[in-house]
Symmetry: C2
Subunit: 269 residues, 2 copies
């Protein structure tokens, strides 16, 4: 049986042109307005990773959310800009009908053996089994596809002076971690303004950038066990805030770092 | 007299097509190999900010460095993807001759009045006058255009277990801060692998993303006084590392956050 995540990130390559693929929004990954941004990003990574000309694995991804994505089909045009000896640069555009709804860039590459070190350590947290799983309201459909256990900064637990969320998260039902799944998880933090205000507010990601530190072997070793995801904002103001996050695997392995810029409006009193 | 930075970021708009501009590398901003990435990014911001159709000020910029940029002219093709009510999405490509040397995306927008807060505080540091200015070797030409005062993590001061650099930095000679200058400063950290190893290593930025939190008024108020720039890596390995940085202005104003992915090779023993 196909996992719902694999249904959602599926792409059809048009025979005539390997650089254009078609995807379809999946109702199981809808957000409050339009699809969850993480599933869109994951679909792009899937389309690139399965491209016949791809070199290696994802290193960097930027997705700009240009306009609302409507439910239904969308077309992804991939431009292979250049393949170097160890990395490969892409740009892409997502269109629906006659208008563009997203743009972005991606870098794939080959991992070489070099000196290595990870400087930060993950937050000290209880084991996943010691933290309760939390459900989001039904109108945040995508969240039902994740087992989420909040250590700090839970969903609408009141207002907070600190925008940090740290959570255990894995696909539900269980699914072995891979690059598309990791991509989606880097966007799986609810908007930091909800946490600060303890309330919903109109908000949406404008630009998402994720760097993939994990090797394919590290993802395979993680299997379907939960990862530890932590994120916080630095500055809110003038209708925008940023978010910086880290995704940690077993053995204090830093799988990804991620940065996004989010649009928000004040909640009406 | 024109400031050398303004010479370096100058663009010529081709009359027939406002979406294509020509720039020229400036020897004063050369790096060890090719131009300093910060000046390329600043030139893109300048080209967008002076575009007749621009909306507001920069919010987000991603530049992917695809191939070495040779000394001489380069052509920047700007694509205005969509203008929404409060923001505007662009993509761009930089070509030299018949090949692409950089790609990227930018978001500009209008700042609205909203709830505001900055969560982190800048590092506690001595005043700029209490820290010595440091010169880099002559073959890192661009660095001569900055007054750099390292509080921690100076240039080739020995190896370190911590990749953090915190420095006071301003243009040299003095120049009032604006969005292009801020853009350049977000790339003005030398490669974190130099700091960890206490030695040069082949290294170069693959992808740079900067979020602009500052308003134009905040930049104007900063004038030509130094900003406090701090950055560190999280994970080194497999030929790459990331860097996350913050740029602080007077009054604990967070002007920008920045994230980049860098390629490196091991130093030969």
């Amino acid at each position: 049986m196909t996992h719902v995540f694999d249904e959602a990130i599926a792409v059809t390559r048009l025979d005539a042109d390997v650089h254009t693929v078609r995807a379809t929004t999946h109702p199981a990954y809808n957000n409050m307005v339009g699809p969850f941004g993480g599933i869109t990003a994951a679909t792009v990574v899937n389309a690139l990773a399965t491209h016949p000309d791809v070199l290696g694995d994802p290193l960097a991804l930027t997705v700009n959310y240009v306009a609302p994505i409507a439910e239904g089909e969308w077309d992804l045009a991939l431009v292979p800009v250049r393949t170097n000896r160890t990395n490969q640069h892409w740009t892409f555009t997502i269109d629906q009908g006659d208008h563009t709804v997203a743009t972005g860039t991606a870098v794939f590459g080959v991992r070489r053996d070099t000196w290595a070190d990870t400087e930060p350590t993950p937050p000290e947290v209880p084991a996943p089994d010691a933290v309760d799983a939390v459900d989001f309201p039904d109108f945040i459909a995508w969240a039902a596809n994740y087992d989420k256990r909040f250590v700090v900064g839970g969903f609408l637990d009141g207002s907070s002076d600190d925008s940090t969320t740290t959570m255990w998260i894995r696909d539900l039902p269980e699914r072995p971690l891979d690059f598309p799944a990791l991509t989606s998880i880097t966007d799986a933090f609810f908007p930091r303004v909800f946490l600060r205000k303890g309330a919903y507010a109109p908000a949406g990601t404008i630009s998402l950038t994720t760097y993939f530190h994990a090797t394919a072997d590290e993802l395979a070793a993680q299997g379907s066990r939960p990862v530890l995801a932590t994120a916080k904002a630095a500055r809110f103001g003038h209708g925008h805030f940023d978010q910086y996050g880290q995704i940690w695997g077993d053995g204090d392995t830093l799988l990804a770092t991620t940065h996004q810029l989010v649009y928000f409006k004040d909640v009406q009193a």
